[in-house]
Assembly symmetry: D2
Homo-oligomer: 471 residues x 4
């Protein structure tokens, strides 16, 4: 059963305050977290709507807590994520927890088979709780990293990567700092995974576990970001925002039941790779969804400006379409050619997933360029809502002249559209978006490396050898 909005809000309210903002401890119902919380609420709301049952749930549970078992599951996930993006202008923020769980379902299974451990049963218990309570969980992956040329064990400050500081009979104690943890502040649990491959000497840093987000020793410093909150103009998109956190683990105890990787350093890279793979698969849905929004906004701007037929206009919009649809197509191909792991979990085709995310990543700045280009200077210099909605008497009439475009388009529609483009391109929210759409799930260089690692180059060499007669 999908959780109710109320239940989620209740849960947040009951959590121990451990979030800091501007030097002060805040509660999870603080207004700076409101847009980030709204985003989650909106998703619960939609998932409870019978109209979307097939898309947003599976076997009675929230699809966002489901581990994919078939190509169809992967296709539906992709479609679901595009849908959530359309409805919020943001994304299906909860996909991260699902991605971690999918990856753990595989790695814990493999470790048990290969090492005789019992990680998978621990994982299954936690999965059951995740699905039953429809929990909100972010990806807790990116360490702060310190000197980028050094491995974890080489760093002078050992906490720049999260690590095991003590092993006890009932569990482990971990310390370290992670950052860029999107949605941590409005989540209930953290599932922690390593951010990179680990060597033998980095064993203490090879760790994965689940822990309540308000557990003793966990502290977050939050960086909320959302569209400007207008007084008079109510735009649905302005309700939703992000909140990234620096997450500090200060001697946090984790009982063995919630530990999924403990110093098995050779599995760290597999886990990191699979979390990235599932998360990038999610991007095959959200980035086309973002493309739809840019296409829609640019096409409306062109329509209102009455220049939709100009080649210089429509070709730019088509460029954005091509990127969005190729990225989506590669997601479809990744599902259709996915493979089933012995654990039952379906693994999307790594090549197509990485090609998709790479394409999206290298084009996101260009997509913004198209939007800024077609919107013109007004998106950047738009005057305040007060100057438009409650202007001084002396400039009232001129405001209409200022905004008007095609005669048949109401001034208010023009204001709404350009306000949106302004907020999307000329605000902290817009800049964050650009960066997130570029780096999220791994910057383009990470996908290039993933493709290099997993592509069958030998097959292509063989084709050429045969053609040129090298035997």
């Amino acid at each position: 059963m999908v959780r109710s909005v109320e239940d989620y809000l209740e849960s947040l309210k009951s959590m121990r305050p451990n979030i800091y903002f501007k030097g002060k401890l805040i509660r999870r119902d603080d207004k700076v977290l409101r847009p980030a919380v709204n985003l989650i609420c909106r998703m619960f709301e939609l998932a409870n709507d019978p109209k979307y049952r097939d898309l947003l749930t599976v076997g009675g549970i929230d699809r966002l807590t489901h581990i994919p078992q078939s190509p169809e599951d992967l296709l539906k996930e992709q479609e679901m994520i595009r849908f959530y993006t359309h409805k919020t202008s943001i994304c299906a923020i909860r996909c991260g927890g699902q991605d971690c769980m999918s990856a753990l379902s595989i790695v814990t299974y493999d470790m048990d088979k290969e090492l005789g451990t019992d990680y998978n049963s621990r994982f299954r218990r936690f999965l059951e709780e995740f699905q039953r309570r429809d929990l909100v969980i972010p990806i807790t992956m990116t360490d702060v990293k310190g000197d980028r040329s050094l491995r974890p064990h080489q760093q002078s400050d050992k906490n720049v990567y999260l690590r095991i500081v003590e092993t006890r009979s009932d569990g482990i104690v971990v310390s370290g700092v992670k950052h860029c943890i999107t949605a941590a502040a409005q989540s209930e649990f953290l599932v922690v995974v390593p951010t990179r491959a680990m060597t033998e000497k980095d064993r203490d840093w090879a760790v994965s576990f689940a822990v309540p987000a308000d557990a003793e020793g966990i502290k977050m410093i939050v960086s909320p970001v959302y569209p400007p909150q207008q007084r008079f103009l109510r735009c649905p998109y302005a309700n939703y925002g992000f909140a990234d956190s620096v997450v500090i683990f200060d001697n946090v105890f984790v009982p063995w039941d919630n530990v999924f990787l403990y110093k098995e350093h050779t599995y760290a890279s597999q886990l990191a790779r699979l979390v990235a793979l599932y998360h990038r698969h999610g991007y095959t849905g959200c980035k086309p969804g973002l493309g739809d929004i840019i296409v829609g906004a640019a096409a409306l701007a062109a329509e209102y400006n009455n220049v939709a037929d100009r080649e210089t206009v429509w070709r730019k919009i088509v460029e954005v379409v091509v990127v969005a649809e190729l990225a989506y197509a590669a997601g479809i191909a990744a599902a259709v050619t996915s493979t089933k792991h012995r654990s039952g979990t379906q693994i999307p085709n790594e090549i197509y997933v990485n090609c998709s995310r790479y394409l999206s990543g290298i084009n996101v700045f260009h997509e913004y360029q198209v939007l800024v280009d077609l919107a013109g200077g007004m998106a950047a210099t738009l005057v305040s809502e007060e100057d438009i909605i409650t202007p001084a008497q002396e400039v009232k009439d001129s405001i209409k002249t200022y905004l008007r475009r095609r005669d048949d388009i109401p001034i208010e529609h023009i204001h709404r559209l350009w306000r949106f483009i302004h907020d999307r391109t000329c605000t902290r929210f817009g800049g964050y978006w650009l960066a997130a759409a570029f780096h999220g799930g791994g910057s383009p260089i990470m996908e290039e490396m993933a493709i290099r690692r997993s592509y069958d180059f030998e097959l292509r060499k063989k084709i050429v050898k045969e053609l040129v007669g090298i035997v």
Copy 2:
């Protein structure tokens, strides 16, 4: 049953000579046509190989004569075309005939339903012959076009677009000149389709039909192109080539039985669009196949040069991988989301097909750049095979110094690989390839126009309107 190579060669030999080259009439077994004929022979050979039965045949017939009836058919076609590209370094040259037939299966059906004509039964008879005899048929589409700013009926020379010059009780008489007709010279029938949309005034130019390639009144001027033919170095790829023709229709009679469109000008654009769609769908197989060859050659060059690990090298190769795999992925998506026409024919998703072809088209010059870049100057300045294989005594030893790279790579392998890259980039064959990979199936601007025409922009505007509160 798939046709034998012998049967095909016999058929060519029996045809009336009507091909001109360098001002003279030549026979179809002339040596300048040999590489183009070899290419077809190789395909018959492979299709007769039991090892490839599932991929290359369907229901006992050659897959290249089959009209797709399901997503699986489309997926198999794509795979088959990539395979033929690997085996010949060229493509599945015969796909064009199949594409015309797929398009006609739809348009003749629709016309019959909507106009009460009987085109579809004529078409079915011809389709039966096509499949039974496993005929070789090119796309006969591109008119020479004259002044590009004028429609057919506005041209001063009416023959720059093919047209009906006489209507008789037993059939029609057509005249006009088409060009860039790839494989016409080694084909047995021509299926003629319009190259563009037609207005009411262009009715005489709205025509489609099948006709033997050596029918009375048909004359071709051929432009064969193939890799340099070496005396000593036998490289499989050098066996295969192209032959484009200017095809002249000089008062050619076509009996009604073979006429599939007759002045129904409003159907001309549908037919042109569908032929392009099916042909571009073929490109979702052959362009990734070409990408594989470029990747393989570049990766081998890097390996032989011993620089495969340099970032400046592998990232360039990965770029080519990304283009190839995204183009292929979009082909998969086009099949998975294809629709079934009431005639039973499966229509690939137009958006994905066009995005795929567009991506391939705009990147082909860049792919060649990567190959030229990584091969270095030697590919362009490579000395003759005689200077390598039978050099003058005085330079014999230095030739080894000239060619050698990694010690463990035989000199001959280096010669073969760089000969291939040379032939692929610094010959008439190579230049033709570049142009063909850019223009074939429609230059990028054609795909942009197709996307603009068929994409659901209103849906995207609606998404944005909802987000900004325009109701």
Copy 3:
């Protein structure tokens, strides 16, 4: 003599309040205008510094009020603008007034010669005042434009382009609305020029003149934009900002002495073209200056992260260098190949200027991508200054772990650099900057059109004709 900061501030203070913000009238010393005013003050300060006399002044006057008379003048201007960009992180905001004056020096001269008018002497009088008082003047050009498919006289709201509404014996009366008028709010005079070519029917819209920025009937709605103002962290760049205005002309009277173009519609396009040319010439200085800042910030980030030697890092930075230096080089070439107008004014080479601005324009989003790429996620998710400088006790130590990179780089330096990158990419200020760097002086399509119009294509055709033997 260069003006003192005090004199400028005194002048602003003495002006009639006619600026609106958030629905209210504000004074020119309002704190929302402070950063925009600071920018101008900083420039006066630098120009008064004897160290920079040669670069920032000429013949005893502020170089920003000088009309270029030689290639050397143009070269110095370019250098000066790059310098001001370095010192403020913004640009030489006052260049606009100079550009309008340079253009008017030519057009008024030509009109007088060709039409027998006396515009040039009026212009000279105003120029003398401009130089003597060292006035701050923006480009007042961009009309709000209404329906973009219609000319001025076709619009239903005649005020979407500024126009002459009355002709009197002592002058003219104008009405209309302009927007995107950068620096209008901190300027003393406006020099108004047309935004496009005008036809015979648009004669009433063909007008140019100078007017005090607080003249009767002029009203501005301002949109200030500047970096976040921190409480504890004082960063020089945060002092400077922009302020664009919607400028409303509500029956503004202009005496003949200040009118420089009156209904001579055929000269409107020449004037618009020349203002754009001079302004784009300014961009050959400021955009390389902006490139320097991006290069410097990216190189520092790489140094602090200890990855400056990685190919994937330095090649991206070199890409930004190439764009900056080619844009600057084209500015040098434009000066060296400039021509002297009969009025004495030096005209930079139109081709090189437009190529330079075009290159800068199409690359600005990519430059930001490089910066975002190399800065990593922290620039987007950076926590508040309070959380860094005055953190809660519980997280104090972890903040150091969070920020640290190379051991030898002080935490504060890391904070300062990432704060800058954050402010430059993830704020309203950053988004405005991107849009301004793209659109300012004319979006790339405008330069393409300018190049098309002024390039000597016939010469190139002739070269080819000679080579191929067409005589």
Copy 4:
């Protein structure tokens, strides 16, 4: 005094035959070398034309043998090279010798000053002969290199880099193999320079000298390349071609008088860098010249097709203009900001030169794409000249239909233009051109490395430090 064509041809005829082609020794008046020789002859012819005296000569000598002494010299050289490119469709092939001499004028001077050697006086003697006899000399630089991951002394075949094998009282003996030596076969002297930096252990490979091209022990294997030689259609461009050679040094003796660098390994990189710099400076003339030809051909094709006004057409041509003019502008800037070496030789600004060459290099494939795009399929499938000029009677009329475009353009002009485009894109000549325009003077990665090495990054870091308050 500029040399006469006859004198040059006489000189070639008198040389010892040491050139191999297709396994056989050929003479320098062999017809396969004719186009390469024609190119040089054409240049002597033009330089002797009084009309071009100012551009092509300086102080009574051929400008191509002059060492630049001032910014004006550099500007003139650039202009001269663009001019030669226009007249031959190729380039100023002789610039290479001049570039080597300019570099040697500096390095020999520095060595003498710093090491007390007398290289400069030797060099001056040879320079005097070069200028007096107006000698043809190529850049003899690129070693065959063997395993690209190894330095010269690490190679198993020591001859993959040219080296000193014996030191005698009267001179040195050298052995090794160089390749890609453009114009060696039609040259009279070789000036040999190192291809890379050398370490202490590579001292034997650190060598530079001049030697007659037919000296004892020198053997060349030539690879001539030129446009197809038509029987009926005489097109000026078809007269000119290239000839690259593998140049074998088989125990070649060089008297001390002609030795300019002998094991001073630390000067090898300076020499290599300066030769590259001067040669890349030449590219600031020839690549814009090539751009002019592509622009001219594309513009003519558009004109003949009657589509010159379509946005999709002219914008593509403008793209090529922008690349050409920015590359040229950077050459101008490199001259204007050049520096004078203590030897008197003028050194162009390294940053601008490398930015220019880099821009040209990364765009050359795109420029070809524009040409292929606008020319359409006919350039690739063009039938033979016989089929056009002496067609079979049966197809005579249709040939006119085939070629015709705008009614007012003669068929022959269309044939000539498309023949040119065909030869430029679909021949060995065309492919060679693409590769040469990409790799010549150093592939783009070489310019990136040069920029990285010589750019003042510290200055940019300092600008940012000041802005953010890092002191």
